[in-house]
């Protein structure tokens, strides 16, 4: 397990207590797992994602990631409709480990209420939570 200062937490995304990140990209939001989450899980061998067009409320379970060690549910940071899923993860789930903020993104959503982004943590608040 890496120390927090060895992990990467970019400033331009928001974080959840369940260790997802969300980034505004025009009128869609891209969702992924934080560097802390992927490090805790270990090597990810399978990612289960929803279908395009599925809708979820904020905090709903929208899929799961499986590492060799365990299965973990993933929760949607804000309410919305899935408009894209990262199909590269089907053949290369390790992208979530190797490139969690870019190539390892999970889904893109069309948010119901963009202001829900304000309920998420910024980098500083997330780091404070991790430091406990």
């Amino acid at each position: 397990m890496k120390a927090l200062d060895e992990l990467n937490f970019p400033e331009d995304v928001k974080y959840t207590k369940d260790h997802e990140w969300a980034k505004t990209d025009g009128d869609t939001i891209t969702i992924g797992l934080s560097d802390y989450a992927q490090d805790q899980l270990g090597e990810i061998v399978f990612v289960e994602l929803p279908e395009e067009g599925d809708t979820f409320d904020q905090g709903d379970e929208f899929g799961s990631v499986e590492s060799v060690k365990a299965v973990s549910e993933i929760y949607l940071p804000i309410s919305g409709e899935i408009v894209a899923v990262n199909e590269d993860l089907e053949d290369a789930p390790e992208l979530v480990n190797n490139d969690c903020y870019a190539g390892g993104w999970l889904v893109k959503i069309k948010p119901e209420d963009m202001s829900e982004m304000d309920s998420l943590m910024d980098q500083g608040a997330y780091l404070d939570m991790l430091k406990g």
Partner: protein, 414 residues
């Protein structure tokens, strides 16, 4: 780190190497290193892996009745166990429930060593003392006084040979479940590392693959560990954590104590070989503690190995359900791990070590492990494993990872 956790002599090495650490049996142990658990698992199958197993505990039993004491408590008949050989089995209570599994080593007719799981040294030593009665046998718990590392995989002997004094005489002959050397430097039959350190070398392990367990003094283990990794690096020797140990043992159809075997009757499971059955399997060849309970128990659950259709799995434990083909809940999941080195090919499981593997077979890994159910099943029975909203299709199997190397003759590996 939780201060109440115990550590092995290699703890500092694990932490310096950036291992992901966790509590295992009260010890602060590495789950995996930077290499990742998948690569560690594959390294054991392709070359060799090195495991810190110093959290395990050893007990010596010495005296003219040592044999009788062990044979009256252990599920294997050690009558036929020759000096220099060891055997896997279990210690049961009166109800036939498993207290712990163990390997019994026979040095002589009056001297034995018992190797048990993390934190179980005092428990099993206490159990043997309780069962001793008027027998003449000294029981000594060596917890913390011995370190152990396991080198497992087809390159294990070649890598180890560079560190042994007289490797040629050590390795030949050295059958599966035999050992050389001693844990007491005053005994005859010592074997040594090249620098003169005495070791006990056992041709065993818990991965299903060829290799050795090395018992050594705690103050000598880090030097051996780093020297092995250094000399074995080019051959692919990889430090492995308990994650890879778990997925390798699950694929090799071996139980984890206190999870797959435990406080339930030690019967109706894939480990018949660990009980001293007569040929027709209606009786035992000896009496031992728990035998009567096992022979008279009619309604014990059944444990089966399973393999998933894919690598998708569930988190094993109390929150799981096993459903039969009719959708009836019949039990729960004891272990569910991923063996990343296997896949289905037609109706058979193949591994990366399967000879003449068809080129179009892509090895993607399979979920595997053990289920405990309330009725007997056929091998090949279709089941659904459920945990919360998740469900995966699996089938019962006779065995999981094929083409394992543990039992092959040592001449294939030197």
């Amino acid at each position: 780190m939780n201060d109440s956790l115990k550590t092995t002599p290699l703890n500092q090495w694990h932490r310096s190497a950036g291992a992901n650490m966790a509590d295992f049996g009260g010890f602060d142990m590495p789950l995996w290193y930077d290499t990742g658990v998948k690569n560690e698992h594959l390294a054991v199958l392709k070359s060799a892996g090195l495991f810190d197993t110093s959290h395990m505990a050893c007990i010596t039993v010495l005296g003219k009745d040592a044999f009788d004491l062990i044979n009256s408590c252990f599920t294997r008949n050690i009558d036929s166990l020759a000096p220099g050989r060891c055997v896997y089995g279990a210690f049961l209570d009166e109800q036939g429930h498993c207290i712990d599994d163990a390997i019994v080593y026979r040095f002589s007719d009056i001297r034995f060593m018992v190797c048990v799981n993390a934190g179980m040294g005092a428990t099993i030593a206490g159990h043997l003392s309780e069962q001793k009665g008027g027998r003449e046998a000294d029981i000594t718990d060596l917890t913390g006084k011995l370190a152990k590392i396991d080198i497992q995989g087809k390159n294990a002997a070649r890598i180890l040979s560079g560190h042994l004094k007289d490797p040629d005489t050590v390795f030949v002959p050295m059958p599966y479940f035999s050992f050389k050397g001693d844990i007491d430097p005053d005994q005859p039959g010592q074997i040594f590392l090249a620098d003169g350190t005495p070791i006990l070398l056992s041709r065993s392990g818990y991965t299903g693959e060829f290799g050795f367990e090395i018992f050594i003094a705690p103050d000598k283990v880090t030097a051996l560990w780093t020297a092995l990794l250094d000399s074995g690096k080019d051959a692919g020797l990889t430090a492995c954590g308990l994650g890879a140990r778990d997925s390798l043992r699950a694929g090799a159809c071996l139980p984890l104590s206190h999870q797959d075997i435990g406080h339930f009757p030690f019967i109706n499971h894939p480990w018949d070989f660990a009980l001293p059955y007569t040929e027709d399997k209606t009786d035992f060849t000896k009496d031992f503690l728990g035998a009567d309970a096992l022979l008279s128990c009619k309604d014990a659950d059944h444990t089966y190995a399973f393999a998933g259709d894919s690598l998708r799995k569930v988190n094993a434990g109390e929150n799981t359900q096993v459903l039969d083909a009719d959708g009836t809940v019949i039990g729960r999941v004891l272990t569910c791990a991923t063996d990343m080195a296997v896949s289905w090919s037609d109706d058979a499981i193949v591994s990366i070590n399967t000879p003449d593997l068809a080129e179009d077979v892509k090895i993607k890994g399979l979920a595997c492990g053990f289920v405990m159910v309330d009725k007997p099943l056929d091998i090949g029975a279709r089941l659904t494993l459920k945990e919360g909203k998740r469900s995966i299709p699996v089938r019962t199997v006779q065995d999981i990872r094929p083409d394992r190397t543990a039992r092959l003759a040592i001449k294939n590996f030197i």
